[in-house]
Symmetry: C2
Subunit: 224 residues, 2 copies
DNA sequence: AGAATGCTTCGATAAGGAACGAACTATGCG
DNA sequence: CGCATAGTTCGTTCCTTATCGAAGCATTCT
């Protein structure tokens, strides 16, 4: 009965269906209000509020107050990674509650993971960027290559601004068991994809659907 | 309230303190009996048994019956990875319940992760093996290099036997945020380390303590 | 100021599940 | 064959916690 980090505390926070639904919704990357999360989890507003304060106290969420709106979001990439890991196990072990339909297929191809793109497309993109030495990877560490600033500047992404968060980070992909690109650069690329309307977010899902021309444009820029 | 994989179910299995302690104990890699796990979790035998059947039903454990002994073990590397991910969050978020003492330091340097070595030593080892082209890594995928068979044969490890489980696999390290070597090769190397008595397992802990000559020998073989 | 929205706190209820002792099954030993 | 050890099942008790309605704050709009 040794005392390590309190893993049961964290796991039990995720272990409630209502809270799990909320966290899952937040994996979409956008911060949501208490009412939206209540709807998402299928509980009343007071109940949701209670859950949210527990998640806050547990350090899994961050809160941004804007006037009378209070936006809840995942506390960070590490939390998002944990949720993906649990999802992976649930997926593998689960009694195939949903047969792999077209929606699951879409999730496998491309989905939002917290604030960046995940799925086969994202894995392929990272591979190609590394192959072209635009990014340099050494294990989990990913660094910008010499040609990165000009390459990304050409598509309107500034990688020179140095924010608190790392620019590049590898994030593990449960569907493909490979890594894809996270960090501010990963987030910026997802922004770009949605801004250019190369793809749209599936309503009420983390799936990202590329339009045929959008896919071509994406591949031209990132997989060429 | 969309229906994905049942993440709450899995998380709530880990979310009970008794079960969390059991899983944590099993992260040591050796399968344990119900009585041992009961002791570990600080509960009575019937209680432990009940928890164990829940974990079994949830697909998190495997059971190997040997006579009147029933050995429980983690269901696989994916489950182990999930536990490490949750541990990482708990560690980061946790109210520093235990100040980083010598034991924590040891865990950071080298520890057992399921069936292979983790920690700074393990990360350094993988880096070096890749650097020497004995292993080839491309993202999470790790393959054997041409010189691998002879190199490992020299220290009594046969990498040509092809079992079901992959020979090489990257496993994420919460203490260092980098990957170390898992898979059958990772397991074989840990075996080797313990067999040669280069290091000993800390009693009741996942920490692995190298003796001064053992550390030299290890570095000569794997970090040279 | 007054009304309306967004959210949290309070209080009561109810359900789930963790705990243990006792009884039961199964394997191994003399 | 009996006794001991390892483990599961059963039944009961008890505590935790999820839930919602009603009431209370806070912020914005008119």
């Amino acid at each position: 009965m040794r005392e390590g980090p309190d893993i049961a505390r964290i796991a039990s926070l995720v272990g409630d269906p209502a809270r799990a639904n909320m966290l899952n919704a937040l994996m979409g990357g956008t911060a949501l209000t208490a009412s939206e999360l209540a709807l998402e989890a299928g509980v009343s507003l007071p109940t949701a509020s209670s859950h949210l304060s527990k998640l806050m106290e547990g350090g899994l969420l961050t809160l941004a107050s804007q006037g009378r709106h209070r936006y809840y979001g995942l506390a960070g990439p590490q939390v998002a990674g944990m949720i993906e890991a649990i999802t992976g196990v649930a997926e593998a072990v689960g009694p195939k509650r949903v047969r792999p339909g077209p929606r699951d297929g879409a999730m496998r191809v491309a989905r939002v993971c917290y604030d960046h793109l995940a799925g086969e497309q994202a894995v392929a993109m990272l591979d190609r960027l590394v192959e072209k030495d635009i990014l340099l990877r050494d294990d989990r560490e990913i660094r910008l290559g010499p040609s990165a600033p000009s390459h990304f500047a050409a598509i309107g992404i500034d990688v020179d601004a140095k924010p608190r968060r790392p620019v590049c980070r590898a994030c593990l992909d449960w569907s493909v068991r490979r890594s894809h690109l996270a960090g501010t650069l990963g987030a910026a690329i997802l922004d770009k994809i949605l801004l250019e309307k190369w793809a749209r977010r599936e309503k009420d899902s983390r799936a990202v659907i590329f339009s045929p021309p959008g896919k071509q444009a994406f591949e031209k820029v990132f997989l060429a």
